[in-house]
């Protein structure tokens, strides 16, 4: 007798996704499919639009990561118009980007992924959410989280008009500068953010690392995959969210590639499967070999853990300390444990806060020269940033009036899609034994992808997504003999 389980919708993540699990006669898992059931078509309807509108249009791919799309698009515009923004503009852009990363990482840890750890993976589902988190860590801590998030978002509003779908980016600069008085506000908030980063790592230490059951899960085989890792790095091979080259390391941690972002088409390709609207990225240098681990497979990962694995450290002191601590605790680089993404995310939060502090204190950031007016005929440009969920590519070509003729977008979750699909399959295989399935086990399968913080809003830019739970028991002829509901 074979059974089939559908988790639909997957919850506490952005957008839509679905997991389809096939059980075998012994009650083990034959295969679990991770599907993205949606597509929206941004690359097509970008065609004909004025290219300078791309930072605002493409931010609608994702309302959780709008700043990432906004910034990748803005950087692509600099190239399309062959203009180099003045230093103040670059600093403002990078700072607002760090502010966004702080806020977004905090959101994921406390609201989306965190409840699994803080409240516990098998806690009643009515508690596995931010309210449960508040119940566990106390309202004071909760208020601190909400307060920090609000503080960061207010700063994004100040600079970008809106935190969701900002309007700051223009080719050659930004739409507004920072006054000396405003600078003080950024400096003060950066200090708060650094403290919050340290505090959050402490929360992780107290709640997760001191719980041997959680640590066991983190290092367990069900949540482990040995793949390539990709991330943006600066000249010193340190993590950078806003600019740099793309470094790829092999599953053994050795450098495989380090290429300028405008060469992405030489190294990154996408594969189509009939059972999902999301495309699966792989390293072109190796080729698509299916959903496989190891150095012979082109599957790679992006996002916090991958970025840390692909780098040689963090460019700020406190984050560097935390980075070293993580690797020494988990047995050296690279770390292949998917759930360690949560830890890496908090290390990055601290880095973003420290970097925000450096930029906020930089006197040049208040320079009124924050725009260069482009004069060249628009043509083609590629912009790449590290979105919280991983590397994000925007590539545009235009006619001589600057109307888009081609747009190609590879979003973070797409880069990760193959590994996420593998993680879901593997965790299902590792966790479901003798046909025993309950809400806690199913939630632990969801944890496998929730760790990536996959953004299906983004993943579905090309098409539309949802997630509930149904277990269908199928006999050998695939007739439904029994249906179980998640409750």
């Amino acid at each position: 007798m074979s059974r089939r389980i559908v988790i639909d919708p997957i919850t506490r993540l952005e957008g839509h996704g679905k997991i389809d699990i096939f059980l075998n006669n012994e009650g083990g898992v034959d295969h679990a499919y991770f599907q993205v059931p949606e597509l929206r078509g941004f690359e097509k309807f970008a065609q004909g639009r004025p290219v300078e509108d791309m930072p605002q249009i493409t931010s609608r791919i994702c309302g959780v990561c709008p700043m990432a799309h906004h910034m990748a698009a803005t950087k692509a515009l600099d190239k399309v118009f062959s203009v180099d923004p003045p230093p103040a503009a670059k600093k403002i852009r990078e700072m607002v980007y760090d502010i966004f990363t702080i806020e977004d990482h905090a959101l994921h840890f406390y609201f989306l992924g965190g409840p699994d750890f803080v409240v516990g993976p098998s806690a009643p589902k009515a508690e596995r959410n931010i309210l449960g988190v508040l119940g566990k860590v106390g309202l004071e801590v909760g208020k601190k989280v909400i307060g920090l998030r609000k503080e960061m978002r207010d700063l994004m509003v100040l600079l970008g008009g809106k935190a969701i779908h900002p309007v700051l980016g223009l080719p050659g600069g930004v739409s507004r500068g920072i006054s000396k008085e405003e600078q003080q506000r950024f400096i003060q908030s950066a200090k708060n953010a650094v403290e919050f980063g340290q505090f959050s790592l402490q929360v992780f230490n107290d709640i997760v690392l001191k719980n041997s059951q959680y640590v066991e899960w983190i290092v367990s085989d069900a949540y482990t995959h040995k793949t390539y890792y990709m991330g943006l790095v600066d000249q010193n091979k340190k993590v950078n969210f806003y600019e740099g080259t793309l470094r790829v390391v092999k599953p053994d941690g050795k450098e495989f590639l380090n290429f300028p972002t405008d060469k992405y088409l030489d190294h990154v390709a996408e594969h189509v499967e009939p059972w999902s609207y999301i495309k699966f990225c792989y390293l072109k240098d190796i080729g698509w070999k299916g959903f496989e681990d190891g150095a012979d497979s082109g599957v790679y990962a992006v996002a916090p853990l991958a970025r840390l694995n692909a780098s040689e450290g963090m460019a700020t002191p406190l984050a560097q300390e935390a980075y070293e601590q993580m690797y020494s605790t988990l047995g050296g680089k690279p770390v292949h444990h998917t759930l360690a993404n949560h830890w890496a995310r908090l290390i990055e939060l601290l880095y973003a806060a420290e970097r925000m502090q450096e930029l906020a204190n930089d006197q040049e950031i208040t320079d009124p020269n924050y725009r260069v007016i482009p004069t060249a005929t628009p043509n083609e440009g590629i912009g790449v940033v590290e979105a919280p969920r991983g590397t994000l590519f925007h590539h545009y070509k235009t006619d001589e009036k600057g109307r888009v003729t081609m747009a190609n977008l590879i979003v973070a979750t797409q880069n990760n899609a193959a590994r996420i699909a593998m993680s879901v399959d593997k965790s299902a295989k590792g966790l479901i034994k003798n046909g025993q399935v309950d809400d806690g086990i199913l939630n632990m399968i969801e944890m496998a992808f929730r760790a990536y913080d996959p953004c299906h809003g983004c993943a579905t830019h090309a098409l539309p997504g949802q997630m509930p739970l149904l277990v269908r028991v199928l006999d050998a002829e695939r007739n439904v003999v029994r249906e179980l509901k998640k409750n």
Binding site: P9, R12, E38, P50, G161, W275, R371, N408, P464
Partner: protein, 321 residues
């Protein structure tokens, strides 16, 4: 009295509308205290079957964001309608089609082809496309259908109220929640935002010229924008005069023109047509050839005037969709 049961759901959405709810910040704690949230996939673990198990009309209010692009979203729209007493279209996508609604400029097939075949990073030699049903050795795996067009929520089910914006401004969300809790909702069909033009609440209003003398529309990257003066007066295509107020001019405050996400006021049927005629009337005093030159400086009139509202426009409705 028991707490009102409230649901939030997203269809073809970017998640920004969900973030806007989280942006209520500490106020969200008051909301949670005042209502019972019974469905919210973005933040809570209730599943579709929990909703199916509800009695009809069991949810007092349901906020639905995102447009309808797939068969699954269509099904969810019906389910939400069936289970809620009051259904609120939340955000531009649900209200007018939103930015993803610009997909309706193109056929479904051309969108699929672009994504799975023409994209320069896609390698798809055997021409694989996502299928509604895939037979695997294990059984069938299904995907929802990618429908011909993007539709607004009220093109699929009956809608009681609209919260405009991309995403709706926090202030409007708070006011709407207040009105619901105090049972002070306006007549059915109302858009829950001020019924006046954005210019009325714009700090630059004083400098807005009575009669525009626009020789050419400028694109925002072509000029250094004066941060005090009316953007339209500076030659930028600011849609404030034809857009509903309520956002407090957040984009204009950041020195960028309004792009119209709040949609039109109640006196307007078709946002894009109104915008076009509005701007044409500014130009009426000019010679024909000058008018042509000005119109020529709008490089993408369709995408400019129908940026958030194509699926709800006359143009699209006349396609019979």
């Amino acid at each position: 009295m028991s707490k009102p049961k409230v649901g939030f759901n997203w269809l073809a959405s970017c998640g920004g509308c969900e973030e806007a709810i989280i942006d209520l910040n500490e106020k969200i704690l008051d909301v949670v205290a005042a209502v019972d949230i019974v469905f919210w996939p973005c933040a809570m673990d209730f599943k579709k079957d929990d909703v199916r198990a509800m009695a009809d009309g069991e949810m007092d209010v349901c906020f639905v964001n995102g447009a309808i692009r797939t068969s699954e979203e269509e099904e969810m729209a019906h389910l939400m309608r069936q289970k809620s007493k009051i259904l609120i279209a939340f955000g531009s996508c649900s209200h007018m089609g939103g930015i993803p609604g610009m997909g309706n400029f193109f056929s479904k097939d051309s969108i699929l082809k672009n994504s799975y075949q023409e994209s320069p990073s896609t390698i798809n030699l055997d021409g694989t496309f996502p299928q509604m049903e895939t037979i695997t050795p294990l059984g069938e795996v299904e995907l929802p259908e990618f429908l011909e067009y993007v539709r607004t929520l009220n093109q699929v089910v009956d809608v009681d109220y609209y919260l405009p914006g991309c995403p709706p401004p926090v202030r409007l969300i708070t006011e709407a929640l207040g009105a619901i809790l105090e049972n002070k909702l306006p007549p059915k069909g109302t858009v829950l935002a001020p019924d006046k033009a954005l210019c009325d609440e714009c700090p630059r209003k004083e400098t807005k010229p009575d009669k525009m003398e626009i020789a050419e529309f400028k694109r925002p990257y072509q000029i250094i924008v004066d941060s005090e003066k009316c953007l339209l007066g500076q030659g930028l295509m600011c849609l404030g005069p034809v857009t509903r107020a309520g956002c407090e001019g957040v984009c204009t405050k950041a020195n960028m023109p309004c792009t119209g996400c709040q949609g039109p006021t109640s006196r307007v049927q078709d946002y894009g047509a109104k915008a076009l005629s509005g701007f044409a009337s500014i130009l009426t005093s000019m010679e024909e050839k000058d008018v042509e030159a000005v119109l020529d400086s709008i490089v993408d009139p369709n995408g400019t005037f129908y940026r958030y509202s194509l699926p709800s426009s006359m143009m699209f409705k006349s396609l019979g969709a």
